[in-house]
């Protein structure tokens, strides 16, 4: 089992509840932002020492939810301070961007890191389409065409042009080009069958970003596998990633309390504006096909589900090291995945608590789950 250490880089110093979209940035204090960036970068660098295999960043706009409007800037900094760990961009929000630019930036990261990039091609959560004024109904079409174009930009040895539905270029040959051959490993994520099908089609790794229920996730993974096989790729366990929230302490109640508080802050403060924008997008556009509409709305209620409920479902990691080892084994038995993506910075959980948890993970969890 490989482990990824994921961090949103949230802005945690403005505790007011909000429903506004976009979240007014008068609530952002740049000097505090500077401190947070430095603290978070140090923390993510520490993940390498703790034995994590990947460190992950992702893109969010116009809210305190995450301060990486371009996560590649943070990725570039992490590369300089690490030597072994893979740099997982999970991801760039492909339909919002110029695909050539993504191909170029990912190639820079791959070369800067000597081939340590994991290239996320993500569709993004709905509110980002409001931020960049892109049509949510075009998100799948753009994701598919852009991913193809990016792969072409990485692999085509001769200069080429591209005449597409969404993208047109007449003369492409990117400098630098990536070091990994034939191209950097791609990861795609999805909470819908269509996303799973697309990930399979590209022979990408498949990430379950939100583990709602084992049945739901297994269903998606099956769709992914079928699609991959149909396109000549046979996914191994290490091609499937499952994301889990982790709260770890010597004392089980302490771990639970920490996580409960962090989740509350996440839902009420960091996620408030996002929900407003998501409602707008989901109510009226075809962002998800019709089959997903009801499901996503239900998922938004998940913020209200208690840690105990999640523990009962087995879809969260929370407790003492011994408990977490068992929980991880349980998830692995159910999912058969090869990469676990760990998110410890939930809401405003203090960094010192997180460091303690990371140390416990390194010393008392990792040795028992490496060989899963």
């Amino acid at each position: 089992m490989k482990f990824a250490y994921f961090h949103l880089m949230p802005y945690t110093e403005s505790p007011e509840h909000t429903q506004d979209w976009p979240v007014p940035n008068k609530r952002f204090d740049p000097r505090t932002g500077e401190k947070l960036y430095n603290a978070y970068l140090d923390n993510m660098v520490y993940a390498e020492e703790c034995g994590f295999d990947w460190v992950g960043c992702n893109e969010h706009h116009m809210s305190p939810f995450g301060m990486m409007s371009n996560p590649n800037l943070i990725g570039a900094s992490l590369i300089q301070r690490t030597t072994r760990i893979k740099i997982a961009m999970v991801g760039n929000l492909i339909p919002l961007l110029n695909p050539l630019r993504v191909a170029e930036e990912y190639a820079m990261l791959d070369v800067l890191s000597g081939g340590r990039l994991v290239a996320g091609m993500f569709r993004g959560i709905p509110h980002e389409y409001v931020a960049y004024n892109m049509a949510p109904s075009e998100s799948y079409g753009r994701l598919i065409e852009a991913t193809q174009l990016i792969i072409k930009a990485w692999t085509e040895p001769e200069p080429f042009g591209w005449e597409g539905e969404y993208y047109q270029y007449r003369a492409v040959s990117i400098w630098p080009r990536p070091i990994q051959q034939p191209h950097p490993r791609i990861i795609m994520s999805g909470s819908s069958p269509r996303s799973a099908e697309i990930a399979g089609r590209f022979g990408a790794m498949f990430g379950i970003a939100q583990l709602k229920t084992f049945d739901d996730a297994r269903n998606l993974i099956d769709i992914y596998r079928e699609s991959a096989k149909a396109h000549g790729f046979d996914p191994k366990p290490e091609d499937v990633l499952v994301s889990l929230t982790l709260s770890l302490a010597e004392d089980a109640d302490e771990a639970k309390e920490t996580l409960t508080n962090g989740r509350r802050f996440f839902a009420e403060v960091l996620g408030g504006g996002l929900r407003t924008a998501q409602k707008l997008v989901l109510q009226k556009t075809r962002y998800y096909g019709d089959e997903m509409k009801g499901k996503f709305v239900d998922a938004r209620k998940s913020a209200q589900i208690s840690v105990d409920d999640l523990l009962d479902q087995g879809t969260i990691l929370c407790g003492t090291p011994k408990m977490v080892v068992d929980q991880l084994k349980h998830v692995h038995a159910a999912m058969g995945h090869g990469v676990t993506n760990i998110n410890m910075k939930v809401g405003n959980i203090p960094d010192e608590t997180i460091y303690k948890g990371m140390d416990l993970f390194k010393d008392q969890v990792l040795p028992h789950v490496r060989d899963l």
């Binding site: 301060m67 990486m68 300089q80 050539l100 170029e104 820079m108 070369v111 081939g115 630098p176 070091i179």
Partner: protein
């Protein structure tokens, strides 16, 4: 005198002069790229220790000319790993970018560096428009609108929308926003009349690159002052930065030999494909809005002869810093005396000049040249502030 360090991060392991556009990237060996990136980033960080006030990064696409299609990735690294130097992004090419994205990334760099960003707003050199398939004829109007929009992203305290000619957004409030208030310093090119006018409107530091001679420099600066007065301000010595190539060595002959061979590589190898693309853009589109400017710029860009001059002519007219440390000191005095500027941008990695020679020049600058020239223009600069 304040100094900025310009480094394009060129790919220097090609020896054939191709004329194709784009330059086929099968000539790029990623393993060698890894080494170059490592060396270049180390070098840029070292420039801070050598006493440079600003360290610069800039954007180029699809050629070995420069390996920073998004210079903000390198800017973020520098922001994180240096402590006092200004991070000069010179720049992002606004007309081919999403202005909101530029505002966001620049704000990230400003916050990461604790307020050390110098925000370069550039129109780019013509071939970049082919790379991103944007119409060169729209470059000025996109530039105008993008600058306004980015400044609005940084200064507007309330969420806002933007209904423009080229850009439409309904709900903007960027996170993070910059540390520097009300705005990070802005640097723009003042190379053509149109650019100078726009730069003056935004009270930018005027970048003067590829000057033909001192007269060209004086004329450009006077033109900039005239425009600035129309917008109600008076540029001081710190509002001009003059770009110069630089090589310092124990003997004059060695310095000339190194720089000359570096420039030949630059023009002959790195500039080949770009020249082809530039010809297309400059001759076939309305990238420049009038014929006169087009012709002038075509001479400078298409020939890629640093203002249309030979190496010797350039030395002669004083727009090159090349020779022993003492000569460099004298040359900088001359530039300052002729132009009255208090900022110089030095390009030292010219073409395939060896990294060890670059480091040696940096050491000479730190030990001899900077101490002997720091005072130049400082008094006038203080008075003008």
């Amino acid at each position: 005198m304040r100094y900025s360090y310009t480094h394009h991060m060129p790919y220097t392991d090609i020896d054939r002069a191709g004329q194709d556009w784009p330059v086929p990237n099968k000539q790029f060996d990623p393993q060698k790229g890894v080494k170059m990136f490592k060396a270049y980033i180390k070098d840029k960080i070292y420039a801070e220790q050598a006493g440079f006030d600003w360290i610069g990064c800039n954007e180029h696409h699809m050629s070995p000319y420069g390996l920073m299609p998004n210079p903000n990735l390198v800017g973020a690294v520098l922001a994180h790993q240096t402590t006092k130097a200004g991070i000069l992004q010179s720049g992002n090419i606004l007309p081919i970018a999403n202005p909101i994205r530029v505002a966001e990334e620049y704000a990230m760099i400003d916050v990461l560096s604790g307020g050390r960003l110098i925000a370069g707003f550039m129109r780019g050199i013509p071939h970049e428009y082919i790379a991103y398939n944007e119409p060169p004829s729209e470059s000025y109007s996109r530039m105008n609108e993008a600058v306004e929009l980015i400044k609005k992203c940084w200064t507007e305290t309330e969420p806002f929308g933007w209904e423009g000619e080229h850009y439409q957004f309904r709900a903007v409030s960027i996170w993070p926003k910059p540390v520097q208030q009300p705005l990070p310093p802005i640097l723009m090119s003042a190379a053509s009349e149109q650019s100078a006018k726009l730069a003056a409107k935004h009270r930018a530091i005027a970048g003067l690159l590829a000057l033909s001679d001192m007269d060209d420099g004086r004329r450009s600066m006077e033109r900039y002052r005239t425009f600035a007065r129309e917008y109600g301000w008076e540029p001081g010595p710190l509002d001009f930065t003059v770009g110069l190539n630089c090589c310092i060595a124990p003997t004059k002959d060695e310095a000339i030999k190194i720089l000359k061979s570096g420039q030949e590589y630059f023009f002959g190898v790195l500039g080949g494909g770009i020249r082809t693309a530039q010809k297309l853009v400059v001759q076939k589109t309305r990238y420049y809005q009038d014929q006169k400017t087009a012709k002038e710029q075509a001479k400078k860009f298409v020939n890629m002869r640093m203002g249309g001059l030979s190496f010797e002519e350039k030395m002669e007219c004083g727009l090159m810093i090349c020779g022993t440390p003492d000569m460099a000191i004298e040359q900088i005095h001359t530039v300052h005396k002729e132009l009255g500027n208090a900022r110089i941008g030095l390009s030292i990695k010219i073409g395939n000049v060896l990294d060890e020679h670059v480091t040696r020049t940096l050491d000479y600058l730190r030990d001899e040249v900077f101490p002997a020239t720091r005072h130049l223009g400082e008094e006038e600069a203080q008075a003008a502030q």
